[in-house]
Assembly symmetry: none
Homo-oligomer: 204 residues x 4
DNA sequence: CATGAATGAGCTTTCATTCAT
DNA sequence: GATGAATGAAAGCTCATTCAT
């Protein structure tokens, strides 16, 4: 069986470079913030001069926009994939939390930017571009919880709005402390979180 | 009964001004970040000139340090107060969560800075100054959970390290979406959170 | 009799500084062009640092705009004053040419910018702001010539459009070579020009 | 009768390319100025990359120099041709003005650069290289006027220095407003100008 | 010959900070 | 105490220029 990667179009040298710049910039933006990152920092990570980045991007802001636009699709898909999985209510919750945390494994940088960068200060349209999938994601969680209430698997007195914020906030908080070389794997953390959440909201 | 305020020493005009600067700066730092805030912004909020702030602080960094130092004590106390409260395990958990969120009511700015500002980029010692109480706070939570396990009120298979991170991260995530004029009060949110956490970790 | 200057409001220190910056910048822009002038050049003329100029202007472009806006009124008035003068046709032509050239004595810089700087490349609205009085000025000349034809003082076969361009272009060309310390005074040049123009277009 | 072109040596491919670059650069320099023109702009007009221009020129400045040097000869010749024409005084004036304006038809770009670009800022020797023929040209005009005075065809009180500046400035001002697709042809403009100038300076 | 990629010097602009008044 | 004014050290960005391919 051929892997998915094989179906991807071959990348030009330029595209590979752009990808590398994305990666370096995303890492810096995630670590030091957009404002705390100098073009020279990103360039240095790639053994380039700051001015050379402008061969690929018109501005620091456009670089940020490009990063987000190039990844936001994947992020939304990865979120949506959860629901398509089907299975029991508990399975879906578990899968959703696991999917959420696993997305951080490859894309911690971009999710950190999504969640903790003040995008509306930089570019309001960009903020909206990120907020919208974020709201859609929360809506998916809301529907999942509503179904749980309807099916009786979830306590009927659960405040779904607050609970969605709780679950998503809980998962995102992992970005602030998780280290790939730490004691817990993402899967272990997801497992622990799922336990808390499921018991926490399940019908007694 | 005499209020606590009455016991505070009278504030000089200078001290009141310093307090006002703290408040304005904390608000700005929380809203736009340390780097995204200009001295001129803070000054403008107080109808002053940027240069005038230097009569009270030697630098922007020192202003940040002063803000944190002046409030970190209160923050730690408010955290520690929880444990001194005594009561049942469930009561303590509830009180701790409620205390955590109520602290945000008056000091959302400072807690936002504590949690989301990259202090080590600005001043490593400052970061340590904040991290230490943060770790102490997590240690208190850890002890609370350990006691719960010991007393049998908490599932013995709970991963306390991860669970502490979960509870604290859950509570802190409120800073990212809570609005004083929103639909839920802090107490309602705390109640919902307590329910999830307690059921989520309690012995079946 | 009190001079007009006496009625001008006293200038604040800041306004005087702004005026000095205008003068220095106008001189540089006229001599080296907008693009060929560095903020550091202007600042150096005033014994300042380039950054200090930004205490008074938000950008180099705004500085150019401010210069033009602060002087364009005077320029238009000085042009319009010619027609109000009345007198015979020949007197008016003479007065107009003299007025045109005398305006260069005090404001050669600004008129050089008006005439030779490519303003639409820098700021299209600014270009329009300058072009409009320019067109109005040419329209005044056109009316003057039309009246001359009507009154029979001017050859009826004169192509007024081209002649207006000729007179204005002739006068403006002085900006390219006139030096205050040169052999001819502005009044002498104006006299010579008037002679050529009047004989050149007068009815035989 | 054989055309003049036929006597020119055949141009190599390289020479044709150089000519094309000259033309593109001259147009850009004339339209936006030397400083306002990027090498990339010139290259784009020729469907090339900026770097490729350096196969033909060592620098932007050298490109400007090359343009001027390759055309200055023709310009001077075209000016000098006027005097060789002979004919009456009036005929010579008319022919000179017509020749001046007709030169603009094919070489408006280069004459715009000659007249309005601040060459001494870019390359003092270059400026001298252009100024010298310019002065020679004015000297030719001066001699023509002197002859006119001597022969009695010209008013003896004419200030020839100023008058030369006037005539040349008048003609050059056409560069600032003439459009090939405008209402007047170059010949019509020249005719109008000749009329003004001749009557303007002729003995009564 | 031509290009894509990179450089590095130079410019505008920002902003924390200083200081005479 | 406070201000207006100025500084100077970044930082983002531009662009002529270079060079391996």
């Amino acid at each position: 069986m051929v892997g998915l990667e094989a179906t991807l179009p071959p990348m030009s040298k330029r595209d590979r470079k752009i990808d590398a710049i994305h990666a370096a910039a995303a890492r810096r933006f995630a670590e030091r913030g957009y404002r705390g990152t100098r073009m020279a920092d990103i360039a240095a990570d790639l053994d380039m001069q700051a001015g050379s980045l402008y061969y690929y991007f018109a501005s620091k802001e456009e670089l940020l926009v490009a990063i987000i636009e190039s990844r936001i699709g994947r992020a939304v898909e990865s979120l949506r994939a959860v629901l398509d999985g089907g299975g029991s209510f508990a399975d879906q919750i578990e899968a959703a939390i696991l999917g959420h945390l696993r997305a951080f494994q490859d894309d911690a940088d971009i999710y950190s930017i999504f969640n903790f960068e003040r995008l509306s200060d930089i570019n309001p349209e960009l903020a909206e571009q990120v907020d919208q999938p974020g709201r859609a994601y929360e809506a998916l969680w809301g529907r999942l919880l509503d179904e749980g209430i309807a099916s009786g698997e979830l306590r009927p007195d659960v405040d779904t709005r607050v609970t969605v914020k709780a679950i998503v906030g809980l998962c995102n908080s992992v970005l602030l402390w998780y280290r790939a070389d730490g004691k817990r794997t993402v899967d272990e953390i997801a497992d622990e979180f799922s336990g808390i959440v499921l018991r926490g909201i399940a019908r007694a």
